[in-house]
């Protein structure tokens, strides 16, 4: 029998394994890792059947190359972070042990909870980047999404899944509407989106207390000041507990929606006409215009989609984790989404991993601060260094050139001597 006929079997099995593995792993069932590994092996086998050994090796090599800079950056950042700890009289070995144990084993569920909103805001920034736009105000769209989700969650009384879907879609659309003004201004007058979305982010931030007071958080009339009423349980996102009995009780399926959204954005960007046009505008406006692609339309599209995605981060927090909206309790998911996107070089699939890394560093930092004397603000420093080392790719080109030049000169000197 021809083994090539098994191609679709391998593919479907790989997808199935990936879904099971991811679900288990995100629910703190570490055996899920085996399924994920199996999925990777099956996928590689599928690729091998499809295009042969050489192509497979090429794929692996390209993957390894893409990973080199981030891995290197993270390694250096960990070393530099240790130096900072030493300079501030903390014990780096013990601190790191606590940090990694807390982030990836003991409090992995916190990492996952942190990562879910970051995935949405990271995707938002990444998508705008592909159009050459910088959605620095994702924080504002996050607030709008969270407010809209709270409002809808308090007022919708429909069959559970229907209302959840409506909340996600409508709140996302309202958040995307928050980006209409920057989009129109960018297209019409060229006003820089960095300034306009940033200003709107501050605006949204200050609108949220008004909203909270109007929905049960008024300190003069309510017994729970500065926080809205709780959403009815029918409008909560399902939790891992409902199908994985040992998962942490707070863990909700928002992370799976985030991962699905990342795959969707990947598909949109690389396999549809809309995505092609957005990327064309981002790479070369003149070339795009020459091809008959409308710059204005695609700028609008990218900013509105970015607003939608960032809004989902707020929805995810409200219907998934908090079930109410707190005042002044933003963990800066919008701002951190920028880091997550930059770290992933704006690749939607990369965002899944960088969001998890960022979430894990935060969770690990908290755990570390609890069990050791080290302050968890060290995590902020490590994050900053990682970001800088990964983003500044030219450093490596520069160092590479230096080394090459040095070698050449040495060689020339040796030849001259001989």
């Amino acid at each position: 029998m021809d083994i090539k006929k098994l191609k679709p079997v391998f593919f479907i099995a790989s997808i199935l394994m990936a879904v099971i593995g991811t679900t288990l792993y995100m629910g703190s069932y570490f055996s899920g890792l085996l399924f994920i590994l199996a999925a990777v092996v099956l996928f590689l086998a599928y690729k091998w059947l499809e295009s042969g050994t050489a192509a497979l090796l090429g794929l692996i090599k390209a993957g390894a190359q893409a990973l080199m800079v981030p891995v290197f950056g993270i390694a250096i950042a960990i070393v530099l972070g240790a130096l900072v700890m030493l300079a501030s009289n903390y014990d780096p070995v013990e601190s790191y042990r606590a940090l990694f144990y807390g982030a990836f084993v003991q409090n992995w569920h916190v990492s996952v909870l942190n990562a879910a909103p970051l995935m949405f805001t990271g995707l938002s920034v990444a998508l705008a980047f592909h159009a050459g736009l910088f959605n620095i105000g994702a924080e504002g769209q996050y607030y709008i999404g969270a407010m809209a989700a709270t409002f809808l969650g308090l007022n919708l009384n429909l069959p559970p899944f229907l209302s959840l879907i409506l909340i996600f879609v409508i709140a996302g659309m309202l958040a995307s509407a928050w980006n209409i003004v920057p989009a129109i201004l960018k297209v019409r007058t060229g006003a820089h989106e960095v300034i306009t979305t940033m200003m709107l982010a501050h605006t949204a931030r200050y609108l949220s207390p008004i909203f909270i007071r109007a929905h049960g958080g008024d300190p003069s009339t309510s017994d729970h000041a500065y926080v809205t009423d709780q959403l009815p349980e029918a409008n909560w996102l399902p939790r891992f507990r409902s199908f994985l009995p040992e998962a942490n009780y707070r863990l909700h399926v928002g992370i799976l929606i985030g991962i699905a959204m990342a795959l969707l954005v990947y598909y949109l960007l690389y396999h549809t006409r809309i995505g092609f046009e957005i990327r064309a505008v981002g790479q070369n406006k003149d070339a795009a215009r020459a091809q008959g692609i409308s710059i204005g339309k695609n700028i609008m599209m990218a900013l509105l989609l970015a607003g939608f995605l960032a809004g989902l981060a707020g929805v995810n927090q409200v219907v998934g984790l908090d079930h109410k909206l707190y005042e002044n309790l933003s963990a800066g998911y919008g701002w951190n989404g920028i880091s997550v996107a930059l770290l992933a070089s704006s690749h939607p699939i990369g965002v899944i991993f960088t969001a998890l890394l960022w979430g894990a560093l935060d969770a690990g930092g908290q755990y570390m601060a609890r069990v050791t004397d080290t302050s968890n603000s060290i995590v902020e420093i490590i994050k900053g260094i990682i970001l800088f080392l990964v983003v500044a790719k030219y450093i490596y080109a520069y160092l590479g050139n230096r080394i090459r030049r040095y070698r050449r000169r040495k060689q020339e000197a040796a030849e001259g001597a001989a």
Binding site: I195, S375, F388
Partner: protein, 318 residues
């Protein structure tokens, strides 16, 4: 009518000048930096670093002038990271700026915990520059104008001086012209033997110094303590002031006054409790004003031609 006068009086205009000062200082930096060809959205972060180190200096030495100096120097040093990243390592300017803003939040949070044992707000600074009111004899007696411009605290005066100095510097000095050429026509500048790199480094560094000073103003003159996130978007408003001011120091100063006015109005509405509206509606005044300003005025002026464009000359032997 009575309500109108509780808001619209000389105090409002004095507050306008006071609140525009940090924006003016950062906006001057933005003008120089963008004229040299580098977009600097890191000013928000530079300001927060400047504010923090100014507060630390003032608290630990008891001398606010040392605090001011530390704030300026810290801003300058922090801005050099942006210069290295964008000029030497050819990193996208906006990306580098965003990273620096994030790094600034991390750095101040870390040092906050290290120096004061807790995040949030520092102890109050007993000796701050807000206590020093320098009334200029004679001029301060002019009605309205006197109180607005000639009866202020030290850094407010420094900002006036810097506006005038840099307006002159950019128009009349050789270095100023070279900085402008670096943003308009870098290749021509390089051809006449002036290093574009150096001019761009200088532009970023100046913006770091002035933004650091703007941050210091917030921590040790306008208020008497440092709070995390106290810049509240002023670095970005300064960027808008630079744009609506047409990339020149005087214009940026006038635009900053406008934003300062929006801020002052906001404070007055809030404190005066004139209308029965949630106070947050007023807090968003300056942000909305900024959007209107960049929306309405941006077409009137032209940015430097090569701003945000990387400059790379291949050297022989590379």
């Amino acid at each position: 009518m009575e309500a109108f006068f509780t808001i619209a009086n000389t105090d409002l205009l004095v507050a306008m000048v006071r609140l525009s000062t940090p924006i003016t200082l950062a906006a001057i930096g933005a003008v120089i930096c963008e004229r040299s060809g580098i977009v600097n959205i890191a000013m928000e972060g530079i300001m927060i670093v400047g504010a923090f180190f100014a507060a630390v200096g003032a608290l630990y030495t008891g001398n606010p002038w040392i605090g001011l100096l530390m704030g300026i120097v810290a801003g300058g040093i922090f801005s050099l990271i942006h210069a290295v990243a964008t000029v030497s390592f050819h990193l996208n300017h906006v990306v580098s700026g965003a990273v620096l803003n994030i790094l600034a939040m991390g750095v101040t949070r870390y040092f906050m915990v290290l120096f004061f044992g807790h995040p949030g707000t520092t102890d109050p600074i007993p000796n701050n520059l807000g206590q020093l009111r320098w009334a200029i004899p004679g001029l301060s007696k002019i009605p309205v104008i006197g109180r607005m411009f000639f009866d202020q605290t030290p850094i407010v005066y420094f900002s006036f001086i810097l506006v005038i100095f840099f307006a002159w510097f950019m128009k009349k000095t050789k270095v100023g012209l070279h900085i402008r050429a670096a943003g308009e026509h870098p290749l021509a500048l390089e051809t006449i033997g002036v290093s574009v790199k150096k001019m761009r480094y200088l532009g970023v560094f100046i913006s770091g110094l002035t933004s650091g000073m703007g941050g210091a103003y917030l921590a040790i003159e306008n208020s008497a303590s440092f709070t995390e996130g106290m810049t509240n978007g002023r670095g970005f408003i300064a960027l808008a002031a630079n744009i609506s001011g047409g990339w020149n120091p005087i214009g940026a100063f006038i635009a900053s006054l406008f934003f300062g006015f929006a801020d002052a109005l906001q404070v007055r509405f809030q404190v005066g409790k004139v209308f029965d509206i949630p106070e947050e509606i007023f807090i968003i005044f300056p942000y909305v004003a900024t959007i209107i300003a960049v929306a309405g005025l941006v077409r009137r002026s032209r940015p430097p031609k090569e701003v945000g464009v990387d400059f790379m000359i291949e050297q022989e032997g590379d």
